[in-house]
Symmetry: C2
Subunit: 156 residues, 2 copies
DNA sequence: AAGAATATTGATCATTCTGCCTTATATTGC
DNA sequence: GCAATATAAGGCAGAATGATCAATATTCTT
């Protein structure tokens, strides 16, 4: 079994519904045996279906209510060093290299507008960075969710 | 106590280190009483420090190994309807309205290049969308992390 | 269609955890 | 200094866990 099946999806959906739920409770709710749920969970973990707990921590609750996406134009030769420099900036939550143009998409959080300005400066100061373009994340049109993909897995 | 203190940060760091850890284990590891850890966790939960479990599910494990960021230029008047349309596309994980220009940043996942093409088409077909610009997320220069912000909270 | 491999179930067991309580002792804010 | 709050330490009943096992289903292969 290489790919996730409907039962896995149901278990994950149950986890989304209540993350602190016990295995026994889930088994009851899903009409599965405790053994099965436990085995599936172990299997999911082995297949790296779970990302680090970092992802569940709210930056806002930590005191960083402002999210921004910074498009960073770089000199490709210095990408390696840049990865290190960017990783040195705590407010950088993630940075992706994008296809096509020689630029990165960097997700940062900040305590406010002036803080964001300072962080942008730190990025600009990194060796290999040519210019940046900051966009504040104003409204969440679609708040993060994965459940539609899980629900789709239920049918076939 | 409005903001997160060092003890909260230590607890969260312990959670990152091992999410399935029990409260008793954490108390032992951190040199706190079980009571304290339990109370802190409850308090963190009450303050919405934890995001939904969705965030910890790996799209790759679900069969969507390709991530892309789609910049969507829109007619502002139709933002409301667009939120609904975009939410109707399962592969859209999140969508942010950006400051300044009238465009959105949409994070999508897909099973492959042709799938991404199809999804882009679905977005283009949404009422209010003028044009899109797709960027594939090639390499993760900085994989998602929040621990630097937590560790900073340990000192002062 | 038969046989093999794999999943699921139900069951047990000892150990551990939880949720909830109470009391005493810091620690902190005013 | 006093009051409010956080922490520690302990106890207790109920529940959950992890690790088994054997018996059935189910799925896959050939």
């Amino acid at each position: 079994m290489h790919t996730l099946d409907g039962t896995d999806a149901r278990i994950l959906l149950a986890m989304v519904e209540d993350p602190r739920q016990t295995v026994v409770a889930m088994a009851a709710k899903l009409g599965l045996s405790r053994n099965t749920v436990q085995a599936r969970m172990a299997s999911l973990e082995k297949r790296h279906a779970f990302l680090a707990f970092d992802h569940r921590i709210s930056p806002a609750a930590l005191g960083y209510p402002l999210t921004a996406f910074i498009s960073v134009h770089v000199q490709q030769q210095k990408l390696g060093a840049l990865a290190v420099s960017l990783a040195g900036i705590p407010e950088v939550l993630e940075a992706h290299g994008l296809s096509g143009r020689a630029d990165l998409l960097v997700r940062v959080v900040s305590t406010g507008a002036e803080d964001l300005f300072r962080i942008n400066g730190k990025i600009l100061a990194c060796d290999g960075v040519e210019r940046t373009e900051t966009s504040l994340a104003m409204n969440e049109l679609v708040p993060f969710r994965l459940t539609p993909l899980l629900e789709r897995r239920l049918r076939p």
